[in-house]
């Protein structure tokens, strides 16, 4: 079984400050981890993924995430947040042994609010 937890329903940050969105996961095998973002009235957009290799993954719009196997975490980070980063962020995991490649387990989402 696979599961994802995003412990914060909402994260508030001032523009220019660092942004962190937390995600922890549980899978039976090695995880494939993803972050997606949903802007208002839009579909989910891919930000970045971790499959294997370097634990620090860089993605779109200046975001990055660090895979931590011992803590089973994949937190999303951005050094300096922009007002335009305000959106709903979803963490997703797929067990490498899942029957279907697209059978992701998503978290409940974290609303990010960046204030000017």
């Amino acid at each position: 079984a696979q599961s994802v937890a995003q412990p914060e329903d909402q994260v508030n940050v001032a523009e220019g400050n660092p942004l962190t969105v937390k995600c922890t996961y549980s899978v039976s095998g090695n995880p494939y981890l993803f972050w997606y973002v949903q802007y208002p009235n839009r579909g989910l957009q891919f930000l970045l993924k971790y499959i294997t290799g370097d634990n620090l993954v860089k993605g779109s719009y200046g975001f990055e995430a660090e895979f931590n196997k011992s803590q089973t975490s994949f937190h999303l980070k951005k050094p300096s947040a922009l007002v335009s980063d305000s959106a709903l962020y979803f963490c997703a995991v797929r067990d490498m042994w899942a029957d279907s490649w697209g059978k992701f387990q998503f978290g409940a989402g974290t609303q990010v609010v960046v204030t000017p």
Binding site: V4, Y32, Y36, G43, K49, G102, K103
Partner: protein, 113 residues
Amino acid sequence: EAGVTQFPSHSVIEKGQTVTLRCDPISGHDNLYWYRRVMGKEIKFLLHFVKESKQDESGMPNNRFLAERTGGTYSTLKVQPAELEDSGVYFCASSQDYTGELFFGEGSRLTVL
């Protein structure tokens, strides 16, 4: 290039009625997925098509839900009869390969009264 399109964007029906949601994937994408987000909770997997075949339908909640993808192009998801707990946002996504990046539509919001 056109993205994944879903129709309708919002549907309001009464309990016991039928609703059909449609998804047009990105042209050339063999993989098509349906997901659902209920009451602001997790986005949950419903099923996966590879071309016209159902690869995995383990997430379909019950036999009131029927998904089809005739000809391997667009897909429909029919709910018949609809129940109150079916309310939510239904997302469709497509992908060309297995790199992990799914392309999502804007979703179809279903409200069952």
